[in-house]
């Protein structure tokens, strides 16, 4: 049965079993592999996307529930002209990722938090950022969120990311 919804501004129709989690439709039917599989029980957040603007762990939502809704994935954060979202830019400036596997989900969670709160407090960051990062990038995630909202990190020292070009 075909199920229609939109992904990153484009209408799609997929022939999937209705109970298939949105995650697998995104990854396997729509080839949007930036959204990751981590646990399958909505515990780690690696699969986080936005559904009608709401932060959603896509591994635990059947695609049938997405019919008619608007999904945004990590690939949809980047503008058509290639300009990165302010949060993605902050992530690069703070050199957040290590293995990088959880970072799509972390970024989607951070974008949702900033859209909801404007400039989140440390306590709001603590409460909202519940995605697991095994590499332990949490201090830089915190400082990147603060930097993205124009707020310098107070508790976490931001790394001095001075680009080096190698010129003499």
């Amino acid at each position: 049965m075909a199920i229609g919804f939109s992904v990153n501004g484009k209408d799609v129709s997929v022939a999937a079993e209705p109970d298939t989690p949105l995650l697998w439709v995104l990854r396997e039917d729509l080839a949007l592999t930036g959204t990751k599989f981590g646990c399958g029980i909505a515990a780690c957040g690696a699969c986080s996307v936005h559904v009608n603007g709401e932060l959603t762990r896509s591994c635990s939502v059947p695609v049938s529930e997405i019919a008619g809704k608007a999904v945004t994935t990590i690939e949809g954060l980047t503008a058509e002209d290639g300009t990165l979202h302010a949060v993605q830019q902050a992530w690069i400036a703070a050199q957040v990722p290590q293995c990088g596997y959880c970072q799509s989900g972390q970024i989607m969670a951070a974008v949702a938090l900033i859209e909801r709160t404007g400039t989140p407090s440390d306590a709001q960051i603590d409460e909202a950022m519940t995605n697991i990062c095994r590499c332990g990038t949490y201090p830089r995630i915190r400082s990147a969120i603060l930097a993205a909202t124009g707020k310098a990190a107070q508790s976490a020292p931001a790394p001095a990311a001075a680009p080096v070009t190698g010129e003499a």
Partner: protein, 755 residues
């Protein structure tokens, strides 16, 4: 337990290939010695190209039109692009960028025209420089110094060695391979330019991938010189830059891999796809060592999208059109597995068996010096004893195992992320019953690893080989998180009895008796100056396959020793920092690291009631790290970390921005394990199944402030990926003891604090 716990695993590779006991300070890691011999030429660093058939085949893997390879590590194109081939794989540790900094700096290459790629999984690219680095740690400096380079190169290829691990990329591949290659190629480019211009080499300078003759104003690009320079013989011992001459080494260069990791475009093993590919998932025997007795395939085959059920000796595999179909098919099955005779295996039973072994007093290995028993029996000493225990812990890499395999025309091709591409080929070949030349492995980036992805403990290599051989299409085998948690190759459950004698506030003797599967002697250096020491290993093997977990044995041995140092300080009535300090040689690097962390953390200054500070220092992988943790305890008894400090002496930091991330990340991983992580066994099977019952520390519980400081001692370069991990666990346990007065000697702290 002598039986092979997993019938799918080749005994020779699963079991440690022991070398003679090494009593010298250094690393002996069994994982580097697995495998059998296969030979390709010799070399000084990297592998030099010479005109023989096998090497020209290897050379053809990297050299395209207008490109000139100098050795296995690099090539220069006529458009000036320098390409570095990293034998190490990226799983977040940032070594690709750092290796690039080392090569480009010595080469005086234009950083913007440097490309970093993965070395092909071909035996010609085996990492001799890594063998050269590890050898002194395994065999001692003297013995290693006597070995000709050609012999070391031979060893690397015989292992075969292309690993990512042991915190080795920078200290060995970088220091031995990349820097020397860069310097030697630069010298060859200068020689070529001197000939072309008819001027003495001494009048030429290099910068930004150009050779300049200042007197005449003539400039030659590296791309113009590459063809001629590549035909020259390279100096075997080129002059390296001094620290003052570095332009890239030691600088906070942004990592090359990061942009693709923030826009979703990075392709991990689990993301790989092929036209016509199917997806499979697997359930192995819940009890490691068990086998598949029977399974009725019909319920799975009735699920829409399921195409095939495959029975392995110890597992059942379902192949579907996609992961969801395969998962539903697998869930529909009721396979019957044996318990392999391990039904009595449990967490308490393992601790009891280990205690009995230690009490028996027959160690498998002993390190140390002096007469500990005589010191214990001496008049007027105060004896202190304690027993410590750590559970199995899981790597929990965020990307579950996923390998894609395609068997066609007698050849097997595999795609995915593993810590040693060459061993992966060998293991897959053996499982598939193929010649290794008929197995291709395409390494991809990894969503974490932390020791879980060493081929000698990775059963999914066998599984994909066996599954791919049975189907005509490409198939991606994906482990569920449950499979991942229940079939880990955990840091071993381990326990130790520690005993020391004190006289006049000083330790006169220390004995550490530890029971676990692997022997750690020679791996974890003992740093304190104590007249008599003894560390005895008692081998205990459960039904689990034990694997290296970030920083390997330094984690539990660090926890034992550094917790006990606090207990001894208390027994001596002294401050834990000052007590450690006086047992470290005056003026030593260790003492400086300890002093610095005490200074930065405000050690000794007053804290609010209910808050405590803990300190610990551990050396691992050639790097000395001291950490201070400030913590309190929540109402439910769980520890809450407030602040953390780390001071690191790894000799030289190649990329301080990345080094800071590695130390902070290692520290957080250690806190996570210390506070809440445990894999427990009941009736031989793992109890935990997913992140719900295997809690990983989250952002809210990680210290918001981690102060990482590097001492640039210029000593021999040490590792950076692992050494940040060991001290945090004992530092936290010590902080909790300082805050509450309760000494917790069994991990995880959470369970014990609530008990």
């Amino acid at each position: 337990m002598a039986d092979n716990p997993n019938p799918n695993i080749d005994e020779r590779q699963a079991a440690p290939v022991e070398v003679a006991p090494v009593k010298k300070k250094g690393v002996k890691r069994r994982i580097f010695l697995a495998g059998s011999a296969l030979l390709v030429g010799g070399g000084i660093f990297g592998v030099w190209w010479t005109d023989n058939a096998s090497k020209s085949k290897a050379r053809s893997l990297v050299e395209g039109e207008g490109e000139h390879a100098f050795n296995t590590w690099m090539k220069i194109a006529e458009d000036d692009t320098v390409t570095l081939y990293s034998p190490h794989i990226d799983f977040g540790q940032g070594s690709h960028t750092a290796l690039g900094q080392m090569l480009a700096d010595e080469l005086d290459a234009d950083w913007t025209k440097l490309t970093i790629e993965q070395a092909p999984a071909d035996f010609a690219f085996a990492n001799a420089d890594l063998a050269k680095g590890f050898l002194p740690e395994m065999a001692g400096e003297t013995l290693a110094g006597l070995m000709p380079d050609a012999v070391i190169g031979m060893m690397a290829r015989s292992m075969p060695i292309m690993i990512t691990g042991g915190s080795s990329a920078i200290r060995f591949t970088g220091e031995v391979g990349m820097r020397k290659t860069g310097a030697a190629v630069r010298a060859a480019l200068i020689a070529e330019a001197a000939d072309r211009l008819g001027v003495p080499e001494s009048e030429l300078t290099t910068a930004d991938s150009k050779v300049t003759h200042a007197k005449s104003g003539k400039v030659l690009r590296y791309g113009e010189l590459a063809a001629g320079a590549a035909g020259r013989s390279l100096a075997s011992d080129p002059v390296l830059k001094t620290r003052e001459q570095w332009k890239l080494i030691g600088k906070p260069v942004p990592r090359r891999d990061i942009p693709a990791k923030v826009d979703g475009s990075a392709v991990y093993g689990i993301d790989f796809t092929r036209p016509d590919m199917r997806v499979a998932t697997i359930a192995a025997a819940p009890v490691r060592g068990g086998t598949l007795e029977s399974v009725d395939e019909a319920p799975a085959m009735a699920v829409a999208g399921v195409e095939k059920v495959i029975k392995l000796s110890d597992a059942v595999v379902v192949i579907g059109k996609g992961y969801w179909a395969a998962t539903k098919g697998l869930a529909a099955l009721s396979p019957k597995f044996t318990d392999g005779g391990h039904s009595a295996m449990s967490t308490p039973a393992i601790y009891a068996a280990q205690a009995k072994l230690r009490a028996g007093g027959k160690p498998d290995n002993e390190g140390g010096e002096g007469d500990v028993d005589a010191a214990f029996a001496a008049d007027g000493v105060k004896l202190v004893e304690a027993e410590y225990r750590v559970p199995f812990i899981h790597h929990a890499m965020m990307e579950p195992f996923a390998l894609t395999g395609h068997f066609k025309d007698g050849k097997l091709t595999i795609w995915g992320g593993l810590q040693d591409p060459l061993s992966t080929r060998k293991r897959a070949a053996k499982a598939a019953g193929l010649d290794v030349e008929n197995v291709t492995f395409n390494p991809m980036i990894m969503g974490g690893g932390f020791g879980r992805r060493f081929p000698d403990v990775v059963e999914i290599i066998d599984q994909i080989a066996l599954v791919a051989k049975q189907v005509p299409y490409p198939v991606k085998l994906v482990w569920s998180r449950e499979e991942e948690v229940r079939h880990g190759t955990y840091r071993p459950q381990s326990s130790a009895g520690l005993k020391a004698s004190l006289k006049d506030g000083a330790i006169t003797a220390l004995r550490i008796d530890y029971a676990q599967s692997g022997n750690a002697e020679g791996e974890v250096p003992f740093i304190y100056a104590i007249p008599a020491t003894s560390r005895r290993h008692f081998a205990y093997q459960s039904n689990q396959i034990d694997g290296p977990w970030r920083s390997v044995n330094a984690t539990q041995l660090g926890f034992y020793t550094e917790s006990f140092m606090d207990e001894l300080a208390a027994a001596a009535g002294e401050d834990p920092y000052k007590f450690r300090r006086k047992h470290l040689p005056d003026g030593s690097r260790h003492q400086k690291v300890l002093d610095e962390v005490a200074k930065r953390s405000g050690w000794g200054t007053p804290l609010t009631a209910g808050t405590g500070r803990g300190i610990a220092i551990v050396e691992s992988f050639g790097t000395i790290v001291a950490e201070v943790i400030e913590a309190t305890v929540n109402a439910d008894g769980s520890p809450k970390v407030l602040k953390a400090w780390a001071v690191v002496d790894c000799g030289t930091t190649v990329n301080p921005l990345n080094a800071e991330a590695q130390i902070a990340g290692g520290l957080i991983m250690s806190l996570s394990a210390a506070i809440g992580e445990a894999i427990t066994l009941e009736k031989g099977a793992v109890v935990q199944s997913n992140f719900g019952d295997y809690p990983i520390l989250k952002l809210a519980d990680a210290p918001p402030m981690i102060d990482v400081h590097f001492i640039e001692s210029g000593a021999k370069t040490g590792g950076i990926g692992e050494p940040g991990t060991p001290p945090a666990t004992p530092a936290l346990a010590n902080a909790v003891a300082a805050a509450t007065g309760k000494r917790i000697r069994t991990l995880p702290l959470l369970t014990q604090a609530k008990a």
